[in-house]
């Protein structure tokens, strides 16, 4: 090692305390790092992209005839299922942010971030931004493949925007939920709980059939499940029977905002408790 001078006189500022580091630079640094999870891990995107694609193809084949039921808002089950698969891909990308954070906690990396003069919300925001970025790959792939095999983009550009907003929002919700679990359990063993929650959230919604065609308890659950509203927001892109309208947009946006607020608060509470 060389011994270059690093004298106290050269120290940046008087270091009398002061504010945290600028949020933009920190968020950028976290975002860049999060991209390594896909750019430097061989095959990292294959799983998260293939799964929703397989689901898209399998489900449209198995349940394709449901569109014949009275009250089904489209005659293309593929168009019905594309937004669901996009949301699933985005949700699992979000849940992966929690699993990655749990790994960082276990391996001690997160301690390094905690001892940096960084505003605590950025420790949550960084992984979320990374997850949103990563989620765009399966969402785009599903959309492209879906359209190539016969799906319709009935909502035009604005409909696509709605699909991406819903996907990014759902990814954010899933990421915050998963981060809340990660900072609570502080182990990668909590990973299945993160993934399962996303799966259940989607499964207990209007994922496969419209709400009027659901029966019994599932209909009741789907009615109050905010994921149903988020799906409705996304389906403005491809489902001809769901018009692009404010009435179909705001419930999804409110659902996203509410879930982000709740799970974001849970994540922050968990983060604060880490040092107690």
């Amino acid at each position: 090692m060389s011994t270059s001078t690093d004298s106290p006189a050269g120290r940046s500022g008087s270091r009398s305390g002061g504010t945290n580091s600028p949020a933009g630079g920190v968020a950028w640094a976290f975002w860049l790092r999060s991209l390594n999870e896909v750019t430097r891990v061989r095959g990292a995107l294959i799983g998260t992209s293939i799964a929703p694609l397989v689901f898209l193809l399998g489900t449209s084949g198995q349940f394709g005839r449901l569109v014949g039921l009275p009250g089904f808002p489209t005659d293309s089950y593929l168009s019905w299922i594309i937004p669901l698969c996009c949301l699933q891909g985005a949700g699992f990308a979000g849940a992966a942010a929690g699993a990655n954070l749990a790994r960082d906690i276990e391996q001690g990396w997160f301690d390094r971030l905690l001892v940096a003069p960084v505003a605590r919300p950025l420790l949550v925001l960084g992984p979320v931004l990374g997850a949103i970025t990563r989620s765009m790959v399966p969402v785009t792939l599903v959309l492209i493949v879906g359209v190539l095999i016969g799906g319709e983009v009935t909502g035009g550009v604005l409909g696509i925007v709605a699909l991406y907003v819903a996907s990014a929002g759902f990814c954010t919700v899933a990421a915050m939920w998963a981060i809340a679990i990660a900072v609570h359990f502080r182990t990668q063993q909590a990973g299945p709980l993160m993934q399962m929650s996303v799966f259940l959230g989607v499964f207990l919604s209007t994922a496969y059939t419209p709400q009027p065609l659901l029966k019994g308890w599932l209909e009741d659950v789907a009615r109050v499940n905010p994921v149903s509203h988020i799906l409705e927001l996304a389906r403005q892109s491809t489902v001809s029977g769901i018009d692009l309208s404010l009435a179909h947009t705001w419930p999804g946006l409110v659902a996203l905002a509410a879930l982000v607020a709740v799970f974001g608060a849970l994540a922050m509470i968990g983060l604060r408790r880490m040092g107690r």
């Binding site: 090692m1 270059s4 106290p8 270091r15 305390g17 580091s21 630079g25 640094a29 390594n36 940096a116």
Partner: protein, 334 residues
């Protein structure tokens, strides 16, 4: 070592610090200590003594359940952000993202401490050079050796030129060469004015680096002082003389008793005396034996070690004690 600046406020001050965990177990129990600005403070203790818990409190990773701790003049609970801005931390395991390169990690660390792009890049290069990793800076850290990771970990802790550097068992698991390199760097940093709070299980490390040593056991400080003070507290050095075969042991004992008080010795061919003047006693002893016509095979001055200090204050020995140098030996031709 740069030596403490006595007029400055303490770099670390801890009063009545406690940290209890579930079940009422107190990892830290009424700890009091002060680290002066500019000194290397060795925090010594075995596993489970409370070292790491104390460090985690001081670096704001853990809240105390009682007492007060200030680092760089700031309270670790109510002014945690200010503490974070003034400290550098290299924790027990060099937790470094293996997917990133050394250069990227240093730049990221710069960003976390508010540096702009060019500033962070320049600082990263400076630190890579400082810790001898310039050539490896573009490689992913997953390909680094343990010693390289430790050096990078240290460099990351230095990015923002911290006032107080916390090193938690920095050389655990390193080979002797890597350990020596890290010690040199710590000394160099301290020469530059950085206060270093060093926890270690290795006595040699504490003796080599620390201006003062605090010994923790059961969550409390049981002894504190310079290594020399602590060792003097245990006792004076002992001079052991191995006599040549057929030498007159009784005559040797008489001759050496004029140099220092005799000490009981199990070996018949060996005579031992207290050596209050340490190594300076050696020529006196040799001269006395020579004048008495007694041939000598070897002479050894055995000083009390920090392990002796630890044993004296806690009643047990310290893990890693075998790494400590315990004797200064001089072979003397017969």
């Amino acid at each position: 070592m740069s030596g403490p600046a006595s007029s400055s406020p303490p770099a670390v001050s801890v009063h009545g610090l406690e940290r209890a965990f579930k079940g009422g177990i107190k990892a830290v129990d009424g700890l009091d200590l002060e680290v002066r600005e500019g000194e290397v403070y060795g925090f010594l203790g075995p596993n489970g003594a409370g070292k790491t818990t104390t460090v985690r409190i001081l670096v704001t990773l853990l809240k105390p359940t009682a007492g007060e701790a200030r680092v760089a003049g700031f309270d670790v609970v109510s002014q945690a952000d200010a503490v974070r801005r003034n400290i550098g931390v290299a924790l027990q395991e060099a937790a470094i993202d293996p997917l990133m390169t050394g250069r990227e990690l240093l730049r990221m660390q710069g960003a976390l401490h508010g540096m702009k792009g060019a500033q962070a890049r320049s600082r990263a290069e400076e630190l890579l050079d400082r810790v001898g990793l310039t050539d490896a800076g573009g490689r992913r850290v997953g390909q680094y050796s343990g010693g390289m990771r430790r050096r990078l970990d240290l460099a990351m802790a230095l990015v923002h030129r911290p006032k107080v550097l916390f090193l938690d068992e920095p050389t655990t698991g390193l080979d002797p060469t890597s350990r020596s390199a890290l010690w040199r760097e710590v000394r160099s940093l301290n020469d530059d004015g950085t206060t270093v709070f060093l926890t270690t299980q290795y006595l040699e490390e504490a003796e080599q680096l620390a201006d003062r040593v605090g010994i923790i056991a059961g969550g409390s400080l049981v002894a504190e002082g310079t290594p020399a003070e602590l060792k003097a507290h245990v006792g004076e050095p002992t001079l052991h003389v191995d006599l040549a075969p057929e030498s007159d042991v009784a005559a040797a004992r008489v001759a050496l008793s004029a140099v220092g008080p005799l000490v009981d010795c199990q070996d018949d061919a060996r005579v031992a005396i207290r050596a209050a003047r340490g190594k300076a006693t050696v020529p006196l002893a040799i001269r006395a034996l020579d004048e008495a016509g007694i041939a000598v095979e070897s002479v050894e001055v055995e000083s009390p070690t920090l392990d002796d200090v630890f044993a004296a204050v806690t009643g047990s020995t310290l893990e890693g004690a075998t790494q400590g140098a315990s004797a200064d030996q001089a072979e003397v031709p017969a």
